[in-house]
Symmetry: C2
């Protein structure tokens, strides 16, 4: 799946992932009203609204980008109907040929992480049959519980040729409270490093165990926020074979020039996420001319602008 | 809700939470077969089997314990039908008067953590109405992303008078890879502490902001594994007003005597989880006489034995 992602990035010339993180107030009024008319102001109504909204965006951008990243929290807040819309979105995007990164940030102790891994990336045994729960192509994983929480994901990735992105340095303002702290070497050993550097080394080590038969990049990638370009530079060197999923571009403040350090010399190694900046583009002044009926075309324009921003930043590197 | 939990612990004299973490191979064959006969060997069939299994256990133990802790991963592996069984279990346990701790270990950046917080503990706005997604009483929270990922949960806890347990020192073998590492004081300040001590201090600080109108314990608790009693002793002092949710008793190796340090002098301050040791008791030699048709009564016996184990450990303290 990492090789499929890379092939699609090359084909589209867009190391871009569209974050499908629909808030109800991003959804144009006419879509919300139609959904509420059918299902009422209920969880079902909300789920229908975000599904219709997503569908419009996916149809408008699926030829331009390699991947989408639905953030499961935005669906889970609407309970079972919301999660049904998540599953439907995953399925629809895969039908459209998109690589789907489930932004689930799961992580638990061994046996429990195994349940998350099979539920999102693999298959679960039911009697004599095997069934698939959510079936994304990639998932994001939280490493707070250490390697026995991560290993079940590695196992499923190897079996299914799927991938994970492990949280290393997240894009939010308070990520440094833990992630930037300096830790001493284990058991009094010498050498100091930050938590994110330590995690980066672990990602590199886990990744070395989980390489596809061909290609330079591992099934194990990392999440590093665009809002922290200096840390991105350091981490790029620590984990050269890890693809970096870069959130925080656009609405959170990251710019094209900030992204340079996240890429390798081969022009690969990073995929940049934008959520609100693309899916709610029509609410921004520069795309206001599309109006709410043109929300999907506004998203397409925003993708084209982002592609240009990243391409010119990368072109200026040499 | 923390006061309701404390009142129920006092009434039952059992600081015990039953972990409803059903694996399909814990479910007696006759329940599985009935479910598969009705729904096939499908996700729906699996979900029906674990729901029926849970119901039997809840009916058998609900007068003995204050709380249950369904582990959402065990449901999520069965996709939407599994999560529907989770929701049904939450609802049923609440009807039976049990406090429900959703073991969800969610945590994300600010706006996304807010979605998890409203989806699991609060209510989400849909048009002019407010709806509830999963509606547990407590949830577990992963702190890797720092305080702006935790604060949305604090807000919802204050509004709803519900609570959270933040992962501090987890029960699994590799939890020390990150959690035991020694960090330097922030910005080169003096003082060294482990990651779990640093998290314990943060739990105490967050908890001080989130106290009920009456009572000694905060809405903000912590998860500390029974498998690490020494760390429990240290953390008990760092965060005196935090209730500690203690996993790892029983099947994972923790014993009654290991639990002493987790309790305060008032005999409160901790609630001990057992999952497999209770819900799959009938599969153990000492309860084999119950047979699979008596799985629920075996669970009841296991709860009584655990209550006795903890009570005698606590009685021996003074």
């Amino acid at each position: 799946m990492i090789n499929k992602l890379i092939a699609k990035i090359r084909k589209t010339n867009a190391p871009i992932v569209v974050g499908l993180d629909p808030m109800l107030n991003y959804v144009p009024g006419y879509i919300r009203q139609a959904a509420f008319a059918e299902f009422g102001e209920t969880l079902e109504g909300a789920a229908e609204a975000i599904w219709q909204f997503n569908k419009g965006i996916v149809d408008a951008v699926c030829d331009l980008v390699p991947a989408v990243k639905p953030q499961i929290a935005m669906y889970e807040q609407f309970g079972i109907p919301g999660l049904t819309a998540f599953r439907r979105t995953v399925e629809y995007c895969k039908e459209k040929g998109l690589v789907v990164i489930g932004d689930i940030k799961r992580g638990d102790i061994g046996s429990t992480s195994e349940a998350y891994a099979v539920g999102h990336l693999g298959k679960v045994q039911v009697g004599s049959r095997f069934c698939r729960g959510f079936d994304e192509d990639f998932a994001t994983v939280n490493p707070y519980l250490g390697s026995d929480g991560v290993r079940p994901f590695l196992k499923v990735c190897a079996e299914e040729k799927k991938g994970i992105f492990i949280l290393v340095k997240t894009s939010n303002p308070s990520s440094g409270e833990l992630q930037d702290r300096v830790v001493l070497g284990p058991e009094g050993g010498s050498g100091q490093e930050t938590v994110y550097e330590m995690m980066g080394r672990q990602v590199a080590a886990w990744g070395a165990e989980c390489m596809p038969e061909e290609g330079d990049y591992s099934y194990v990638g990392a999440v590093v926020g665009a809002t922290y370009p200096e840390q991105g530079r350091v981490l790029r060197k620590i984990m050269p074979k890890a693809f970096i999923l870069v959130p925080g571009y656009g609405a959170q403040g990251g710019k094209g020039a900030d992204l340079l350090h996240f890429f390798n010399e081969d022009g690969l190694g990073a995929i940049v996420n934008s959520s609100r900046g693309i899916i709610a583009a029509y609410q921004q002044e520069q795309y206001a001319r599309f109006g709410e009926r043109g929300y999907a075309e506004a998203s397409r324009e925003a993708v084209l602008a982002m592609r240009e921003d990243i391409a010119s930043a990368l072109a200026g590197r040499h």
